[in-house]
């Protein structure tokens, strides 16, 4: 059953995605007509699916990498909805919906990939570690999206040309604020998540865990997070420089996510 709900959610997200692209093309089109309700409904099914999975397995934690992807997709969708309701702008949809759709699609198609069978993942610390980091990833993605939008809008304003879909973006300063807030909100999640990870790993593996590619990439990502915030506070970095840095941070985040396939530590396959 949970898989069925997840597939229904995938279809609804797909519908939202199609409408988001249609909105780029057509001027009068409103997100409230299809995209937002479709994704909202998708989120309900998605949530039901996650809860049912947890009930069936008896554990709250994410048992496979697909579950982790599904949870991340729901988090990102939740953040998009927050932004949509607060800023009344559907423009980030063009960037965020594809990610939500791909994550949910992958999760809905292949539920048996790489099960985390190690009993260790049932420890509360690990659950905390994974959930915090997922929230951190979602926030970092939003920072990345908003810095790209900032760049696009700022270019358009400088070149004195307005493309119809960019005309419906929120104001430059609002996009900036959005990126900054998600950065501020994401850092505590990421820090807490990493700390929890370090504590658990220290206890089980000693200092060897440090050589793991995923650990290194995650630390690099955290470092970029810090640099982003520092340059913002000290020099008020915005626009091109900040966008480049955020894009790099996002790239590292994608690598860190992908490193699950390389990492011995993060497979959590039972012996």
């Amino acid at each position: 059953m949970p898989l069925l709900w997840l597939r229904v959610a995938t279809v609804l997200y797909g519908l939202g995605l199609l409408h988001a692209f249609l909105m780029l093309r057509r001027k009068g089109e409103r997100a409230g007509r299809v995209a937002a309700p479709a994704v909202g409904l998708g989120m309900v099914f998605h949530f039901v699916s996650l809860v049912e999975t947890a009930l069936l397995s008896g554990y709250l934690e994410l048992l496979t990498i697909r579950h982790a992807e599904s949870a991340l997709a729901l988090l990102v969708a939740l953040i998009f909805m927050g932004v949509y309701l607060r800023y009344k702008t559907p423009s980030p949809a063009a960037f965020i919906f594809p990610l939500i759709f791909i994550l949910t699609f992958a999760s809905a198609m292949d539920q048996h990939a790489m099960a985390f069978t190690s009993p260790r993942i049932r420890s509360g610390w690990i659950v905390f570690h994974v959930c915090s980091l997922l929230a951190g990833y979602a926030m970092l993605f939003l920072t990345f999206v908003s810095s790209v939008l900032y760049l696009i809008l700022s270019r358009q304003l400088k070149h004195k040309q307005t493309v119809s879909w960019a005309a419906r973006l929120p104001a430059l300063q609002e996009i900036d604020e959005l990126g900054y807030k998600s950065l501020l909100l994401g850092l505590p999640f990421m820090t807490a998540g990493l700390m929890a990870g370090v504590l658990v790993a220290q206890e089980h593996y000693g200092s060897t865990y440090f050589a793991d590619p995923k650990v290194l990439l995650s630390l690099l990502m955290w470092g970029i997070y810090l640099v982003l915030l520092y340059t913002r506070w000290s020099a008020g970095w915005r626009g091109r420089k900040a966008a480049c840095l955020a894009s790099f941070g996002f790239f590292v985040a994608v690598c860190a996510w992908g490193a699950n396939y390389l990492s011995r530590l993060h497979r959590f396959v039972g012996p």
């Binding site: 304003l157 104001a171 008020g236």
Partner: protein, 421 residues
């Protein structure tokens, strides 16, 4: 549906002619009284603005001479101003009022003032009893069409004047302008106008700097702002989010190195420079800095032009909407007039048939069910044949202005009451 409109507007007549037709607001009730007292005219409304003087009328029998009213009311000679006058009847008149209310007939297509002006004219005409039923329905519909056009097209979305374009761009950069500060360099009229628009959008603090301190103080007082002496010109800039410059200086005042300094002091918070001066006050190189946006008078004009172009494109969509609404209005009007007549004709003949059958029943004696059905079919057939021509005629004249005449004839011939009985 006997609607008529006659008048002059910015498309048909120059201002010298339009002002001869203008009727001041205080004299409208009297003019409306004269209009509705004329032969054939049952209802009337007059829209008199700087761009148009248009007289709308409804006549029951289609006999309506608005030219005569214009001659008599304004005291023109026969044929005077004839080339400037336009006239529409029936559906064309309906389409015209729909287009006027939707601002498709305006000089600046999509402007919002005209709808208010038509509403005022309607209110005045209603107050003096010049608009009662048919024109009332037409105008209520026209306001609904105007609302539809506004909601379903983007005809009125983008601003088309330089000052409002500047305010729109500022909002695109800063979001809400509430609490933003504006720095006026030079105290010219264009500067003042742009500042007024920004204040209307929420800008709070105004600084004014001018070579002549008295003028700076005078303008600053108007906006309850702060006058800055010319020596301290650059010191205040970092405090301002929007800088509007329109001095008569022969060289640029703000250059790239200034911009870098401002940005440093503002911790890279964005700045918007509006250059209204010719020769320019602001070095275009400033625009290359991350976070600085420079628009000169040509850039603003270009944006305004492109918005006008967009409005024209949207106007084509709006025209289709109006066309569809005219068709619906026509259909409704036809139904409103012809359908009740057909229904009462059918009812009338059916009553006759029933009462004749009742009367003859005693003479016919007991009938078998087959005979009963045959009598029923025979009588029904006769009345259907009788009704056939009147009904087809009614349906075919529904589109014509003479439909009222035919409806009246049918009602008189068959002795039908006015409404469905």
């Amino acid at each position: 549906m006997n609607f008529f409109v006659l008048g002059v507007n910015h498309k048909t007549a120059p201002v010298e002619v339009r002002e001869r037709f203008a009727i001041p607001e205080v004299r409208l009730p009297e003019a409306l009284g004269k209009l509705t007292s004329m032969d054939g005219i049952e209802e009337g409304m007059i829209v008199s603005t700087c761009n148009r003087v248009e007289i709308f009328a409804h006549s029951q029998n289609g006999d309506c001479d608005l030219r005569k009213f214009v001659r008599e009311y304004f005291g023109f000679r026969a044929g005077e101003y004839e080339p400037y006058i336009f006239e529409h009847e029936q559906l064309e008149a309906v389409a015209h009022i729909f287009r006027v209310a939707s601002s498709l007939d305006s000089m600046v297509v999509g402007e919002s003032q005209i709808l208010g002006q038509v509403k005022d004219a309607y209110a005045t005409a209603r107050a003096v009893g010049a608009v009662t039923s048919q024109l009332d329905q037409l105008l209520t519909r026209a306001f609904a069409v105007a609302k539809k056009v506004r909601n379903e097209t983007t005809i009125a979305v983008s601003p088309v004047s330089i000052a409002s374009v500047a305010a729109e761009l500022a909002e695109k950069i800063f979001g809400s302008l509430a609490g933003k500060s504006v720095y006026l360099v030079g105290a010219g009229n264009t500067c003042e106008l742009a500042a007024r628009h920004l204040i209307a959008h929420g800008a709070k603090k105004i600084f004014v700097c001018n070579r002549t301190p008295e003028r700076a103080v005078a303008l600053a007082n108007k906006f309850e702002g702060e006058a800055i002496s010319f020596e301290r010109l650059y010191d205040t800039v970092p405090r301002a989010d929007i800088v509007i410059s329109s001095t008569g200086a022969p060289h640029t005042i703000f250059r790239k190195e200034h911009g870098e300094k401002f940005l440093h002091l503002r911790k890279n918070r964005p700045m918007f420079f509006i250059d209204l001066a010719v020769p320019r006050d602001i070095d275009p190189g400033l625009n290359d800095l991350d976070g600085v946006f420079v628009y000169n008078i040509d850039d603003l004009q270009q944006v305004a032009q492109s918005h006008l172009g967009e409005r024209r494109k949207e106007a084509a969509r709006a025209e289709l909407l109006v066309k569809e609404e005219v068709r619906k209005f026509e259909q409704r009007a036809q139904n409103a007039e012809v359908v009740p007549t057909i229904v009462s004709l059918q009812q009338h003949l059916e009553t006759l048939r029933q009462s004749e059958l009742e009367r003859m029943r005693s003479r016919l004696g007991d009938l078998t069910p087959e005979q009963e059905m045959a009598v029923e079919a025979l009588t029904r057939g006769i009345i259907n044949k009788i009704m056939h021509t009147p009904i087809t005629t009614l349906k075919s004249v529904a589109h014509d202005p003479e439909s009222n005449v035919v409806i009246d004839v049918v009602r008189k011939l068959f002795n039908l009451c006015r409404k469905v009985c």
